[in-house]
């Protein structure tokens, strides 16, 4: 005989308390580098040089981080004498570069948002993290987020992957099939900038070149809590963290 009911009661709630309380469990986030002010120009140059994906741009003594490219390899954190500052959190959601206004969904969606996930050439990592949102630990249903299988009932289009040529058509069709008052969220550095795939003849280099993206969740892959933060931002229940981006024309 199974005592799952009893076991469940005895264990209590295992889900994360986020967003009411920050999640402090070890390993929930790989962390990411943040903009750092070094002692000298050389140190900044070294940090920029060690980054394999050109996510760090040195400008004078400062090293700016473009999170849309970062792959959390930690070389800038562990492999240079003066490491970059490191953010162990997960609230990384940001707006696309040229967007100033945060296009949150109307308040009617704040407790019920249906999400259509499109795998636009993803390696599987981001999709895997997105899938974790449904597990008991993250349990996004408690926050009123639901995955849906049809764009006809979807409010948010969640794109993972750099938008390969074969997925460009289906992605556009999905977007067109969604009723208005819809938002687009690019999850993962591939969906934001093309990531390691970049922009080439078989790859659009990010969802932004195909669709008007409203929110970006950086990370490669972003941890589930980062995606959850993105969803909360989309419904207006969290605000976008003010990332100091690379100043225009300085790189």
């Amino acid at each position: 005989m199974s005592f799952w009911f009893w076991h469940g009661l005895r264990r209590g709630i295992q889900s994360t308390r986020y967003p009411r309380r920050a999640e402090a469990a070890p390993g929930v986030s790989p962390g990411c580098p943040v903009n750092t002010e070094f002692e000298s120009d050389d140190e900044a140059q070294r940090a920029a040089a060690i980054c394999p994906v050109d996510a760090i741009i040195a400008h004078g003594r400062s090293a700016f981080v473009d999170l849309g490219k970062c792959v959390h390899c930690q070389r800038c954190h562990l492999c240079i004498p003066t490491p970059m500052n490191w953010d162990a959190g997960y609230e990384w959601t940001r707006l696309p570069a040229k967007q100033i206004e945060c296009a949150i969904l109307p308040s009617a969606f704040s407790k019920s948002m249906h999400i259509m996930v499109v795998d636009a050439g993803d390696c599987g990592a981001c999709l895997h993290e997105v899938k974790q949102l449904n597990n008991p630990l993250y349990n996004m249903h408690r926050l009123g987020f639901f995955f849906t299988a049809t764009p006809r009932t979807a409010d948010l289009l969640l794109i993972v992957g750099p938008v390969s040529e074969n997925m460009r058509g289906p992605l556009l069709k999905t977007w067109e099939a969604m009723p208005t008052t819809r938002r687009v969220m690019a999850v993962g550095s591939c969906a934001i900038t093309g990531g390691v795939f970049g922009h080439n003849f078989m790859c659009a280099g990010g969802a932004g070149s195909v669709l008007p993206v409203d929110f970006e969740v950086p990370g490669n892959p972003p941890p589930p809590l980062a995606i959850l933060h993105g969803l909360l931002v989309a419904t207006g229940r969290k605000s976008v963290t003010k990332n100091e981006l690379v100043p225009e024309g300085r790189s």
Partner: protein, 714 residues
């Protein structure tokens, strides 16, 4: 008025004879026109003759010559015949117009069309003769003519071997039924003065209950063959599928009804039996309905599906007749009148919408070359007019208001619910079970016809056929006419019920008009037709709307109960159709007002993001009906064989073929055991035939001695 009826009948037979002669004499090209003109004329005369009898309530009688040994042949067109004649007339009117456009498509060059015309009119004449015959010999002769002509028309188009088998099965079953009916008449006629129906009816009063039971059973199953009742209906789907498409409406709309006519005439009019026979009819009817609709839902051939659906409707009608017999035998004339009028109403409705659907199928087949629902699809864009008319037929047959099927099925179920008036608990339980079965049937009918319409007319084209668009004005007129009749019969039941009452009142002993059509138009608080308080309530509800504008008693079908429960059941399709129209308009108005500001963007249909929706990816008719197939597996008992081809190991399969073979439940439970028993008896008897002369001489001698022994005294 009787002379007018007689004259129109004589003119009808003249028109038929003219049709036969002209079709025989005219060439291939002219024959369809002859069929159309003579057919329309004779069917209008049929309708006219029936209408005069139904409107005036006066029967028409005529005595023909005396046939040696059979007595005098007499004709009599009474209201019971007239209602069936009316249905036949409407069907023939539509078919005669429809046939003209299709006769060339359907019949190969090898078959001369004028011969078809001869058979067509001969069948029409024999059908009317069956309906107006008033003595057993004339009735039986014309019945036999009808059976043979049906067989000839069915086998008119002998291109496939299966057609021939179907025709022979039908002929064999018709003959078996005919023999049963002959025996029934013989049992009845043993004590009768002559073989006229009136004499037989008088003789029936003196028969023992056992003799009446045997007459009932012989007649019920003899006529049940034509009416498509379980277990003698296995010929019906086979022959309907094999028959030429232009001819099946006559099968479904006319000759099927002759079965009900026979049952009513012999088992309800000529003899009066106890309620046991009614229970039998009710149970057989309910089982027939359920079996019919189950096979209709799972079949993908439009013609076969409609054939099974005819069986279902026959079941509903016979269940109504059974309820009528029970109520009549137990002394509840009002309930009996409701049940009989429901059955007759359903008979009339079924003739009309089934003709519509079969003609629609013929139209579809002529346009596309197929009638397999898995191959069709997307016809609504190709044939928008036909699509709407076919939808009307589907809605009518699935009992959706405001069309006619709703009224009669509702009345049938209400008639079954009247079993509350019966005293016997066991019969009430039978009624409840049969009512549940009929309700299940009604629900499955909706599934079935949603499938037919959705799979054939909506979606995208699945098959490889190419549309062959012909202009068919006549066919469209014929279909439109039937759809209009469906709507009229569905919205104006209070004008149909008084017409049916001419037939119902003599048989049931109570008027369905006075019990169901309440006089809201004529009643006032003073004249006492209705209690003032009751009248006031219904006037407040608007039951007198239309008073002064419309003739008749009212537009509400309502059965009044006792003081505690003044309304047993009530409906008014006439008012509800107006209310529905107003609500639709209102909804449309509100929606357009609300969405005035918002722009509508039209994009390609969402199909999972695939580049192109292929026909193989869409929902098929088989898939749609599969839940029914799975749920009722105990009845279908399919024989599933799986053929799996593997390449390397067990896990790597290249193809799985699933074959599903079904034997119809009637074949399995009735035909096959009977056939096996026959084989066994034949095998036993074959042992005697070993070819030795001496033994045969011994048989003759033994038999001779046996006869001498048996008749030793006389």
């Amino acid at each position: 008025m009787a002379s007018v009826t007689g004259a129109s009948l004589v003119l009808f037979f003249l028109a038929c004879a003219g049709g036969i002669l002209l079709s025989a004499l005219s060439g291939r090209k002219r024959a369809p026109l002859v069929i159309a003109i003579a057919g329309t004329l004779s069917s209008l005369l049929m309708v006219f003759a029936a209408a005069t009898v139904l409107v005036t309530g006066q029967s028409y009688e005529a005595a023909l010559w005396t046939l040696n040994g059979f007595g005098r042949l007499t004709l009599r067109l009474d209201p019971l015949s007239a209602i069936f004649l009316l249905a036949a007339g409407i069907v023939y009117f539509s078919v005669s117009i429809f046939v003209r456009n299709f006769i060339k498509d359907q019949l190969d060059d090898a078959y001369p069309t004028h011969r078809y015309g001869v058979l067509y009119f001969a069948l029409m004449a024999s059908v009317v003769l069956i309906l107006v015959a008033s003595d057993a010999p004339l009735f039986l002769i014309s019945w036999e003519c009808m059976s043979i002509l049906c067989f000839l028309l069915l086998n008119y188009d002998l291109r496939q071997q299966s057609d021939k088998t179907a025709g022979y099965i039908m002929l064999a079953m018709s003959e078996a039924g005919f023999l049963a009916v002959v025996v029934a008449f013989l049992v009845l006629g043993r004590t009768a003065a002559d073989l006229s129906f009136s004499a037989l009816s008088a003789a029936a009063a003196g028969l023992s209950p056992q003799a009446l039971w045997s007459v009932f059973l012989l007649g019920f199953f003899g006529f049940g063959v034509k009416a498509g009742l379980v277990p003698v209906n296995f010929w019906l789907p086979r022959s309907y599928t094999a028959a030429p498409s232009i001819f099946i409406p006559v099968f479904a709309g006319v000759t099927l009804n002759l079965g009900f006519y026979g049952i009513l005439r012999l088992n309800a009019d000529l003899i009066h039996t106890g309620y046991g026979t009614g229970v039998l009819a009710l149970v057989v009817g309910s089982i027939t309905a359920l079996v019919g609709i189950l096979y209709a839902t799972t079949d993908n051939d439009m013609k076969t599906m409609l054939a099974h659906s005819s069986i279902e409707n026959a079941g509903i009608i016979v269940a109504g007749l059974g309820a009528f017999l029970i109520y009549r035998a137990s002394g509840h004339p009002v309930a009996a009148a409701i049940a009989l009028s429901a059955a007759l109403y359903h008979m009339l409705n079924h003739s009309i919408y089934k003709t519509l659907l079969f003609q629609g199928t013929a139209y579809v087949e002529a346009e596309t070359g197929t009638r397999d629902m898995d191959q069709l699809g997307g016809l609504s864009r190709l044939l928008p007019g036909l699509s709407i008319i076919f939808l009307v037929g589907c809605l009518a047959i699935s009992a959706v208001p405001p069309f006619n099927g709703f009224v009669s099925e509702w009345m049938t179920l209400q008639a079954l619910l009247r079993s509350a008036v019966l005293s016997s608990t066991s019969i009430r339980i039978v009624f409840a079970l049969c009512g549940a079965s009929l309700a299940l049937t009604a629900a499955l009918a909706v599934t079935c016809f949603v499938k037919v319409y959705a799979m054939s007319f909506l979606g995208i084209r699945r098959g490889t056929w190419e549309p062959r668009l012909h202009a068919r004005a006549g066919a469209r007129f014929s279909l439109g006419f039937l759809a209009a009749v469906c709507l009229l019969l569905g919205t104006l039941p209070t004008y149909v019920l008084p017409v049916l009452n001419r037939t119902v009142e003599p048989l049931a002993g109570a008027s369905v008009t006075t019990s169901l059509v309440q006089p809201f138009f004529t009643a006032t608080a003073e004249n006492g037709q209705l209690p003032p308080a009751f009248l006031q309530d219904f006037h407040n509800l608007g039951a007198q709307s239309g008073k002064g504008l419309l003739p008749g008693r009212g537009l509400v079908v309502l059965l009044r109960g006792l003081e505690a429960n003044p309304v047993v059941f009530a409906m008014s399709p006439s008012y509800s159709v107006i209310a529905l129209a107003v609500l639709l308009l209102l909804a449309w108005f509100v929606v357009t007002r609300l969405t005035r500001r918002s722009a509508v963007a039209r994009r390609a249909l969402w199909a999972g993001g695939i580049p192109r929706l292929l026909p193989q990816m869409t929902y098929t008719a088989t898939g749609f009906s599969n839940p029914v197939r799975v749920v009722f597996q105990a009845i279908f008992q399919p024989n599933i064989t799986e053929d799996t081809r593997q390449t390397v190991a067990v896990h790597f399969r290249t193809a799985i073929h699933r074959q599903r073979e079904e034997t119809h439940v009637v074949d399995r439970l009735f035909l096959e055991p009977v056939g096996a028993a026959m084989q066994w008896i034949a095998g036993f008897l074959a042992g005697m035939h070993h070819g030795r002369l001496n033994a045969y001489v011994t048989y003759v001698l033994a038999f001779f001695l046996l006869i001498l022994f048996l008749y030793r005294g006389t």
